[in-house]
Symmetry: C2
Subunit: 376 residues, 2 copies
Amino acid sequence: MSPAAASLPAVSYSVPRRASEAGGEAFPLHLGDTWRTPPAGCRMEDLAAADHPGLYRYAPPQGLPALVDALLERTRAESGAAVQRKNLLVTAGATAGFAAVLGTLLSPGEELLLPAPHWPLAAGLARAFGAVPVQVPFHGLARSADEAVSLIAARTTPRTAALYLCSPNNPTGDVLPRAWIEALVEWAGREGLWVLSDEVFRDFVYEGEAAHAFALAPERTFSFRSFSKGYGMAGNRCGWVTGPLRPLGEALKMSTQLVYSAPTAAQLAALAALQGPGEAWIAEARRQYCGTGRRVAGRLRVPAPQGATFLFLDVARELDGEDLPAFLRRCAGRGLLLAPGPGFGPYPTHLRLCFSAAPPETVERGAELLAGMLGR
Amino acid sequence: MSPAAASLPAVSYSVPRRASEAGGEAFPLHLGDTWRTPPAGCRMEDLAAADHPGLYRYAPPQGLPALVDALLERTRAESGAAVQRKNLLVTAGATAGFAAVLGTLLSPGEELLLPAPHWPLAAGLARAFGAVPVQVPFHGLARSADEAVSLIAARTTPRTAALYLCSPNNPTGDVLPRAWIEALVEWAGREGLWVLSDEVFRDFVYEGEAAHAFALAPERTFSFRSFSKGYGMAGNRCGWVTGPLRPLGEALKMSTQLVYSAPTAAQLAALAALQGPGEAWIAEARRQYCGTGRRVAGRLRVPAPQGATFLFLDVARELDGEDLPAFLRRCAGRGLLLAPGPGFGPYPTHLRLCFSAAPPETVERGAELLAGMLGR
């Protein structure tokens, strides 16, 4: 067994399927997923082999040429960056994109700075390649661009190779001000670090503005995107990376080794969404998520999310001596599934609720149940 | 850039798209793919969200429970092995299965024995995790089980961690006799090595018998399977691994980090094929591939393949001083795409032709063109 494998955490997303055992209503709010189906015209049932002759064949490892073209156009429009075809790589979800890029950039023993709380897989992905995730408590602590840089810089060592950023953040929902991202990217440049910008929730900003980090420093920055969050295609496994030419060329080789190519049908569905009804779908989803997120945040007496589809709650006071796993088991016993804080960093008394994972009424009833259990 | 990434080969599958430039008929026989579409009822167009409520959501990282159940039943029936649910892992193609298992088993600097010629990605996958692929010329050389073991054993070092086997073999098409596989697995056990048995072409045996290696030594053997080859779903990205409980549990964590889950639609399509028309599809595909393979082997004056969907030809004599890339470029200029031998090991004058990658008449015309260019 490799030391890398031995160091991997069990993934906390895979919570017990207690809801079905409880027999009552299920509130599966633990996964970062959506209850919405993709736009009409962008579903599996819309894909006929007669219309798409290569539908069941391997796609080229970089991605279907038509999808790469559409993403080029979209990236230019969104960011103003002078992207070329070889700046883009279509991946089997943003997750596989991170795997390819982290496997390419990080040598064993090198460190990846993870502003915490952070997307759980980021730490395990660094470990998978023998690198060391360094969790830096950050979201909710920094109050200015200078403080943001100071918090991160304090944890830098000679082994630091890269900085991960995530805005809108999973799990806190905060949107980093553009000036902070600019300051962090500039600092990373001075330190000679790669920047890995997780922008999978970019389409879901309710307050503030999402930055496209690649455009800020195209020689050292990777922006990761996903069709899972926008367009509701998490199960399809399709995302894309924008990054610097030479390292992205190396990441293409890594991606080819690890998965060969992103699923062909998923790429065709993504292309259909980009060309057609995707924007309207996102606008409607954004409006609904924002409303639901604000209502459940209010009920749970936490600030409204600025973006993404999560609330990250500290329940230390209400646990009153009970440990978090025991509390989450009690929730699961009543049909309510939530993700435990320790998956996101040093947060032994936090939990994450995803407010897009079920229809709004279900989410609101789940939040009501949680509020009751917490006495809020 | 990690040393692992720097050591990755460019993947030789990605051959220039010259055929389209040539303007004439295209013979794209370089990829290990099929021209056949999946069985009716197992296509994307057959998947409606109304029938499959979780169609666009993440699947559980181990795989959809119904698919895991069906694979358990199939594995028991095929191999007689006493498999449990936790012996199975559904992956985003066999490739991602290898990534998860190699990343789990191999520590940096450890060696993976690769009987050559071998599936090209096997070498790069070992390198991706800092391990060392050791190519052992084997297929076509061993003449008995004892010789098979001797050839492999001669390349074993204190750093050897695992033995890769592939039968039916990609690219040679040979099917290892059951007694050889038994001898190799037994030898690996004595040496304390893992066995990684690539069985993705198991459904395409024309002579001899395919072994299910996991059943021979379930405590140290992984069998890799794919829905890409059987059922013609390469673009879907779905495969599965059968392996020992504890290391497969670790590989599940690795797989979750690298890709999260196999595409949901691909898993539903695979399940439909297992439950319904898959066997008839495979029987028909096997009959056709076997006939086409024998005819083109005859035309090219090489032995008929025992299995899989490839011919691996040594064209040293006909190159007459021209180097292989130049010859392959000339082929591409006439619309004929073939995979270069060096991707499969130390084979500077070999090429691989896939006889399932295009309809039989196209393959036969492509073989005729190649025979003419070789003066055969």
